[in-house]
């Protein structure tokens, strides 16, 4: 195996996160347990007065979907880039 040299240009993120801010109740599970630290809790409010998460570092997202697994309010999910989420992604 030949090690590939890391290119200087930043790689495209492997995945991304979709947040439904109005369904969020601001528990903070997603931001705390994201393995790569993509999310942070916002200082802003949603309509119900909770602080939803925001994306602090989109480039780190691996699309693992653990945020969606933890979210008790079904308000966030992660997907691998390049395709739409399907039921099999669960």
């Amino acid at each position: 195996m030949v090690e590939t040299k890391k290119s200087a240009a930043p790689k495209a993120p492997k995945g991304h996160v979709v947040i439904n801010t109005e369904r969020c109740k601001g528990c903070g599970f997603c931001a705390q347990f994201c393995p790569t630290g993509v999310l942070a809790m916002s200082k802003g409010f949603n309509l119900k007065g909770y602080h939803p998460p925001i994306i602090a570092d989109a480039a780190k997202c691996s699309g693992c979907g653990l945020c969606g697994m933890y979210c008790p309010d079904f308000a966030i999910y992660g997907v691998k880039n390049g395709r739409k989420p399907e039921s099999g992604d669960l």
Binding site: R23, F29, Q32, S42, I54, C71, F74, I76, V79, E86
Partner: protein
């Protein structure tokens, strides 16, 4: 960096989609959303694990029936888009027993809380486990009666504060895995809602295993139990699970007691094989009655 929460999609070009396409939504009755669970409650996380476990398993979605009792966890049957029934308090297991006997091809899942299954329904639990009825029991243990205001439950740890025990409970709580094992459950596991991946795998194993399978899911009740005992919020509770959890597959269930601030022994404790109630009954009656035995129509081709 702006603090706007409107930026929701990080890469809209590669995935043009709306906020409404969360893959878990196909398993939920979206007209019932948002649900009643408090911010930081662990029940929603356990539902995520459950839906993903069904997705992963070989079960036919149309063949699953979910039965709940009363309580915060009892709401699960009303939120899941499966055949479901919300029974009276504590009677989820009797209903599920009847359902299984009338329609053995249905995969019956009882999804309820600790107060419902072990206080009011405690009697039903021990007998369903003793008979080894072919069903899966998922118990969300939040250590108190959440919906009615945080009264002491049979699982409240010793010396924990509840609304009916303002100076601390002095009762010894049930050790649920030990109870389930001694009553005859063939699969017993315990996970906290922090262990989402392990819980998902465990639920799948329990769903696919014939016989009485039981999983205890330790979850925070941030509004009542966690707040009253000054343990922080739901997130702090999950962090404490991460810290205190001891994963010990095959552990002796007698040593799996839960105390305040003590270790939470997690893992798969029991995985044995034992003939189920239906197959035992058919085998025995065939032996005793011979040709005179007529199997009920609904059992044909399902019960061996």
């Amino acid at each position: 960096m702006s603090e706007s929460y409107e930026a929701t999609v990080t890469d809209p070009v590669s995935a043009p989609m709306t906020c409404d396409s969360n893959p878990v939504e196909e398993w939920l009755r979206m007209d019932r959303m948002p649900h009643i669970w408090c911010p930081g409650c662990g029940i929603g996380t356990s539902v995520n694990c459950f839906t993903r476990a069904i997705e992963e398993s070989s079960l036919d979605r149309k063949n699953i029936a979910i039965v709940s009792g009363i309580g915060c966890t009892g709401r699960v049957a009303g939120y899941l888009l499966l055949d479901s029934f919300h029974t009276t308090h504590g009677r989820a297991l009797p209903f599920a027993t009847g359902l299984k006997l009338a329609s053995p091809k249905t995969k019956v899942v009882v999804y309820s809380g600790d107060g419902d299954l072990f206080a009011i329904g405690g009697n039903h639990f021990i007998h369903a486990a003793r008979r080894n009825l072919d069903m899966t029991v998922l118990c969300v243990n939040n250590f108190n009666y959440g919906m009615t205001g945080g009264q002491v439950a049979p699982t409240t740890p010793e010396f924990a504060i509840a609304s009916t025990t303002p100076y601390g409970s002095v009762e010894r709580p049930f050790n649920l895995p030990y109870l389930a094992q001694s009553c005859g459950a063939v699969y017993v596991a315990r996970w906290t809602v922090y262990h989402v991946k392990q819980l998902q795998r465990s639920i799948r194993e329990a769903l696919e295993k014939p016989g009485f399978t039981f999983i205890e899911m330790v979850a925070p009740c941030p509004t009542l139990f966690v707040r009253r005992n000054r343990l922080g919020d739901g997130l702090a509770a999950l962090e404490s699970y991460e810290e205190n959890a001891v994963i010990k597959n095959g552990a002796d269930t007698r040593e799996c007691d839960l105390g305040m601030g003590g270790p939470i022994v997690c893992g798969k404790f029991v995985d044995i094989d034992r003939p189920s109630y239906l197959s035992n009954q058919v085998a025995h009656l065939r032996k005793v009655l011979g040709d005179r035995y007529v199997m009920p129509d609904a059992w044909q081709g399902v019960v061996q």
